[in-house]
Symmetry: D2
Subunit: 151 residues, 4 copies
């Protein structure tokens, strides 16, 4: 199970709604935060200040199994579940300890901005996927030592 | 095409991100706003102050075709795309004028709160789906008159 | 009382928190939405696609008198409460019908982007404040007719 | 300078806006996150599941000195700047390293829910302020050692 990256987080008050649980849209932010943390762990940024390419979403989905509540600690496990010439698909599992909160996915395309403002899909930077996968195998054992309850 | 409900909206500044387009998580809020507007059009509230039942999400998904930008006007068309004893599935299409921005769905379960705080799925209130569908057929022609560009 | 602009809104589910009321940070979004609606009423956009100037915040504040709850309708009244060479200060009152929910203010500076990425304050565009004030006097009587309960 | 509590954070993508900087409303969430982290450091929760009292905002304000950008690390220093029988006022300074990003404050009231749904202000729990202050003096030196760049 070394081929995933884990992002640790706590539920913040503003992420809850009047039903007393985390609002369902917050999980899409959690997945994105985990994706960007994975990039940082690989020594990359998804949006460096001098960027000529961007990463808009093609698809996003989440299946909800159990609710999260205020101040609960959880983690988001990220995997790469699919790659095409111009897109990366990530798979996510959100867990509180060993309890599965839900599963999700994000498909993101590599694009450049056209002069008139439109977005043009382009091929993934060479070596990107290998680099992200490298951060997964390196990261998982370290966190497993620090936070055994989450492994 | 009278069997849908249309919710009209404008992109707000805080919904954009540093890529200059609407953040992908905002579309989940747009879908929910449209769902709740449908309930109001049917004379209902999804969370009245004396509620004994609630409507947590079971699944949420969105496929992105084109970006939305600051101050653009758009509408969210809502349909009921599936019903089981204890869940309702809505289908959504977001359009700017006649341009499709994306498609989405939300599956929501009917639940009661257990005394110890957990959620227990229960059967849909009788007549709910018919009432929501009634608001769809009544609503669509009225808005089509007011805003022909969106029809 | 003609020298204000009124922006009408309904509380959305995602804007509430587990306390069952609108989260306090949402009022800052409400004020901004009202400000931008005022600019549109004046035939302007605060962020047109070809913009060379921007409007970052210098100060923001809100005093809370009563809570707002899910699906309640309210309006935000905007006034210009102060102008300097390089800043505009807006005053806001949020009301549900005639009930005051709270008062706020936003001070915003006119800036250009420096080549290295920093922000440089510059003088307000000539005639801007007069144009915004013009939209206030024109707008208020129209809305008073449409929605007398709010006047 | 031991009488403050420091909360460390990184800017997330969804907190930015099309101007390329953190949206001004995000700072109110940052202040609240720091306040709640202070309570946890004091062994308390601002919203435990069995709560009979709540803490709505009376006032909130922020003065902006410099922008924050995507992925920047910053901290929020919290102080108690005023106490009355029924309210606590916190003062905040947001810094990126030693650079001041801005100053803010939150005034929060202690309330109980009335049977009909209204909020009734009540006296602060005995010993609360002392306990929060205790968490400040204990916390600051520890973090100063761990992250000297922020001190």
């Amino acid at each position: 199970m070394g081929t995933e990256f884990r992002y640790h987080r706590r539920v913040q008050f503003a992420e809850t709604d009047m039903a007393g649980i985390v609002h369902f849209s917050s999980y899409f932010r959690y997945m994105e935060e985990a994706e960007h943390a994975l990039w940082r762990a690989a020594g990359l940024s998804i949006a460096p200040s001098e960027a000529t390419i961007g990463w808009p979403r093609v698809a996003a989905a989440f299946d909800y199994k159990r609710p999260l509540r205020f101040e609960e600690e959880f983690h988001v496990a990220v995997r790469i579940s699919g790659v095409s010439n111009r897109t990366v698909r990530y798979g996510f599992t959100v867990r509180r300890g060993e309890t599965v909160i839900g599963h999700g996915l994000l498909t993101t395309a590599c694009v450049t901005k056209r002069p008139e403002g439109g977005l043009q899909s382009v091929e993934l930077p060479e070596g990107l996927v290998e680099r992200l996968k490298g951060a997964m195998t390196e990261q998982a054992p370290i966190e497993a030592i620090v936070r055994p309850a989450d492994s």
